[in-house]
């Protein structure tokens, strides 16, 4: 039961975490480098709303727009629940025939839950990276690097970014735990058959053995997260040696 559902949650968490990191770092860096620019203002506002927005509310907004609204308007829409459709269906306007259980079908079901988790990740992390970039950019060695004529791009990417990522890495483990928490709510909203939904169903059916097993798995995932963090920390910060 758990093994069949584990891949859903792991892909959801993995893909959204990766996407969030890939998007959050450039946003954070750019906001910090161009502090108080238009881009920075827009991004700080958007990410501020992002950190305030509860994941399940965001999920419902997405369903309202991309499933309910789009379907009502006759546009191409995203399916609002489950991991695949029960039968083959046709995407309006584009006239794609989508077979039940095909890759495209699964992908279309995957987009919205993944988007929710990604957005939450981006919101928190880009703010964090912006903050630590701003701190690092004012340090002496960045000035030294600029003074000795290192290209601006290189200063930002190599001198500033690498160092501002050090605190970010320590944040990751805790974030993995909160993503699992977010996955519970997101999976429930989208009826996505991962571990989170299993946990909710187990709790509502008062099946506490399953619930405890899931809690245990969650703690194991958390510990793995801490382990990865420690290893990454040594990679990012050469002052720390893994002995």
């Amino acid at each position: 039961m758990i093994v069949t559902r584990l891949p859903y949650t792991l892909t959801l968490m993995g893909v959204s975490t990766l996407l969030a990191i890939l998007i959050a770092i450039p946003i954070g860096v750019y906001s910090a480098v161009r502090q108080y620019s238009k881009f920075d203002y827009i991004m700080t506002t958007v990410t501020f709303i992002g950190i305030s927005l509860p994941g399940f509310v965001f999920g419902i907004f997405l369903i309202l727009i991309f499933s309910v609204g789009a379907q009502a308007a006759g546009w191409p829409f995203l399916p609002s629940g489950n991991a695949q459709s029960p039968r083959d269906w046709v995407m309006p306007v584009l006239n794609w025939r989508i077979d039940s259980g095909s890759f495209a079908d699964r992908l279309l079901h995957f987009i919205m839950p993944c988007a929710v988790l990604t957005f939450i990740g981006i919101a928190g992390w880009s703010r964090f990276i912006r903050g630590s970039m701003l701190e690092v950019l004012n340090l002496d060695y960045v000035r030294t690097a600029r003074a000795k004529g290192v290209k601006e791009q290189l200063v930002i990417l190599k001198h500033a970014l690498r160092n501002s990522l050090i605190p970010f890495v320590t944040l990751l483990a805790g974030v993995l735990a909160s993503i699992f928490g977010g996955a519970i709510l997101t999976e429930t909203v989208f009826n996505y058959p991962g571990l989170g939904l299993l946990l909710i169903n187990a709790i509502t059916r008062q099946d506490y053995n399953v619930a405890m097993a899931l809690l245990f798995i969650n703690i194991v995932l958390l510990l793995i997260g801490y382990l990865i963090t420690d290893i990454l920390y040594a990679v990012v910060d050469p002052r720390i040696r893994v002995s």
């Binding site: 501020f48 305030s52 309202l64 735990a177 519970i184 946990l199 958390l222």
Partner: protein
Amino acid sequence: MATAASPTVSVEEGKREQSETQWAIAFRRFRRHRLAMISLFVLVIFYMVAFLAPVIAPFPRDYQRVQDGLLTPMSVDTQGNVRILGSDRIGKDLFSLLLYAARISLTTALIVSLIAATVGVVLGLVAGFFRGWVDTIITRTAEFISTFPDLPILLILASILVRSENVPVPGFITAFVGVVMGISERESRIVALVILVLSFLSWIGIFRLMRGMVFQVREQQYIESSRALGASNLRILAKHVFPNALPPIIVSFTLLLNGALVSESALSFLGLGIQEPTPTWGNMLNVARSFMFEHPWMPLVPSLPLLIVAIAINYIGDGLRDALDPRQRAG
């Protein structure tokens, strides 16, 4: 992370700051944060509306009429009454329900954060000041609780407590909750249990903060001098240690408030927290979810206020952080 323009302190202002108390400075800085002021205003309005729910709401809380079910906003029902935000499946007025739910959701969040902050501050003061075995016991307990992932343990605890009929809740607590939220004793039992679970899991952040601050402050010389002057432990804690640690605590209180509001909504949304007929924004959203396709306005009714309040609380926190951060004073 100032969202408003960075504060530039002129010479005159610098002089003025010397003659003012810290709190006056902080208040002036806070007022300059425009979004935070607007947010504070919005939040106060929300709380006022929530408490005046019985006065403002056009219908009593439990009024229902199946014939008037699933009306769209601003439509007129069979009795000739206007349903401002429409009605749900059994004909409850969504606008009235929203107001009553605001009262439950907002007060629950406030009570939870007050309890968690008090517990965290007191335990943090005690652990940080007395150290030794007292510190060990409290810190280990806090660590034990925080090893569990937040949301799953919250869900499991809440479901166990809320479901079981035989968890005793002292009468004065249910009576208090009932009076504050305007609900019957039977309903307030569940609300009290939800408050209990939420506060049990949320005091740890403030505790850690307080303990750390005490460790920092207690080594300062003025603590030593006040001890030399014969001040008692209690006096030192209350007069010197606590006021010094207050600014960061106020900031993290806003985080706590937001966290409590969202957690309670999430719990009730999943059907594990406060149950119908007691309305909260969370369980209203849960009900509305089933009608999302036919009646897309229904989920918007509870979720937009929830979003607005969450954003407002965060902006207030942001403004407070800017106002209370002593590192900015030099700037």
